[in-house]
């Protein structure tokens, strides 16, 4: 049993790694994507729209397999499994985050930009001190949902053989003819998400010091 728990903790660390690296890259990449999506240049906008449509319109598991195996067919070689997972997750989540950012940005009334302009603020000050804090507050609930989904999505990494928590549990389950390891894994995911949910609740509460308008 101890042996099993140790394995599962190791698996959990891998899951964390997938989770952390995905957030690290997809959060800023989403900003770039939203910039493209809101671009006035037709071709940029169209390409970004197609990209978002594909990311949202196909299963993550397919995207993952594609990212991992496509280079084999094209170049005869691929990157290691972990890298494939991170690449697939980052481009998938960046698309979702971009959509959330866009909703937040569009919820800010044009009067905020106008007041900032009339008062002589630079564009960058307007973005960082006037628009961004309001967008941030606006998107926290949606971001919370997405981050919780990501924790659960880390289980898909086993599709291409990454030894994260779910795979460890599944292997142990098969070995010991018991559903116990899977049940334990469920508890692990649940606890992780409880922490994430709590963190977002606290952020939301902290940002509720003002009301809109």
């Amino acid at each position: 049993m101890n042996q099993l728990l140790l394995q599962m903790l190791k698996g959990t660390l891998v899951s964390f790694q997938v989770f952390g690296l995905t957030l690290l890259f997809s959060l800023p990449l989403g900003m770039l994507v939203v910039k493209g999506k809101m671009s006035k240049i037709w071709i940029v906008k169209t390409l970004v729209n197609i990209y978002i449509m594909i990311m949202r319109g196909t299963p993550l598991i397919l995207q993952l397999i594609f990212v991992y195996f496509a280079p084999y067919y094209i170049f005869g070689t691929s990157y290691d499994r972990m890298t494939a997972v991170i690449v697939a997750y980052v481009i998938n989540y960046a698309a979702y985050f971009a959509e959330i950012y866009r909703g937040g940005i569009q919820s800010i009334p044009s009067g905020q930009y106008e007041a900032a302009k009339v008062l002589g603020f630079t564009k960058s000050h307007t973005a960082t001190h006037i628009i961004f804090p309001q967008v941030f507050r606006e998107i926290i609930p949606a971001m919370g949902n997405e981050v919780i989904t990501l924790i659960k999505d880390t289980a898909l990494a086993q599709t291409i053989g990454v030894a994260e928590l779910f795979r460890v549990a599944q292997t142990a389950s098969a070995r010991e003819f018991s559903t116990m390891p899977l049940f334990v894994a469920g508890i692990f995911y649940f606890v992780m998400n409880a922490f994430v949910a709590k963190a977002f609740d606290q952020m939301e509460a902290k940002l509720n010091y003002y009301e809109k308008k």
């Binding site: 009339v118 002589g120 006037i130 010091y209 003002y210 809109k212």
Partner: protein, 257 residues
């Protein structure tokens, strides 16, 4: 840039033959007016006649398609003139604009709403900026609300904050776009009183308003806009007392009923 003490500069605002269009529809057609230092100009006219557009164009919230706009001696627009973003921002600092729906920053305390531009635009220290903010809030009768957020204030209080925010940058000209239209009728007077006091202090102002008796009371000159043109202009006595244009007569009638 400009030198207002220079006798060559008689006007704070010079607008000559201003043209503004949306697409191929001209909404401001050949509008000219001047505002002298310390003068209060009211712009009246039916809804859709172009009053807001004039204010917005001169405050750089809309593009300008023709004519000439000179603000405190600095040319903002004339044909062929190209200004950098920075030059445009400097010119805008001659102006203060008070919006109909306040546009306060909801995530900042009202003190911060006023101090923010003092710190980041005029490069004042935080301490000095806060002092100025508190002085202005005091003047507006809102000193005890300094740490409140905009959502905690009444409409009239919000508008007083937004006036304070504009005044903080010491603009040479203060523009108002229907400053009382978003307010409950019983809150209108507190804002009109503030504007009246500013007029007494010889603040140069351009006020778009539907408050006719107020316009008559505080203005040195009045412009009546109709369909993108200045249909009539003159002293309040001339425009309100003895309107010549039938459109003006008709418009003023509708207020007397």
């Amino acid at each position: 840039m400009s030198d207002l003490k220079d006798n060559k500069v008689d006007y704070m605002i010079e607008v000559n033959n201003l043209i503004k269009s949306y697409g191929n529809q001209e909404v401001i057609k050949d509008v000219s007016f001047h505002v002298a230092k310390g003068e209060v100009l009211s712009i009246i006219g039916p809804s859709g006649s172009g009053k807001s557009t004039i204010l917005r164009a001169i405050n750089q919230l809309e593009s300008i398609e023709g004519g000439e706009v000179i603000i405190c001696g600095d040319t903002l627009y004339k044909e062929g003139l190209v200004l950098t973003q920075d030059q445009k921002r400097k010119i805008q600092l001659h102006n203060g604009l008070v919006f109909q729906d306040f546009n306060l920053f909801p995530h900042m305390s009202i003190k911060r709403n006023i101090a923010e531009a003092l710190i980041y635009v005029l490069n004042k220290s935080k301490i000095e900026a806060n002092e100025i903010a508190l002085q202005l809030l005091d003047k507006m009768g809102l000193k005890d609300r300094a740490d409140s957020y905009p959502s905690q204030l009444s409409g009239g209080q919000k508008q007083r904050v937004s006036i304070a925010r504009a005044l903080a940058l010491k603009p040479n000209v203060l523009w108002f776009d229907e400053p009382t239209s978003a307010l409950d009728p019983e809150l209108t007077n507190e804002i009109l009183k503030v504007i009246k006091n500013l007029a007494k202090e010889k603040m140069t102002m351009v006020v778009v308003t539907h408050e006719m008796s107020f316009a008559r009371d505080i203005s040195d000159r009045v412009i009546f806009m109709d369909e993108g043109f200045i249909a009539e202009s003159g002293t309040p006595e001339e425009v309100f007392g003895n309107p010549k244009n039938p459109r003006t007569q008709q418009f003023l009638q509708s207020f007397n009923q």
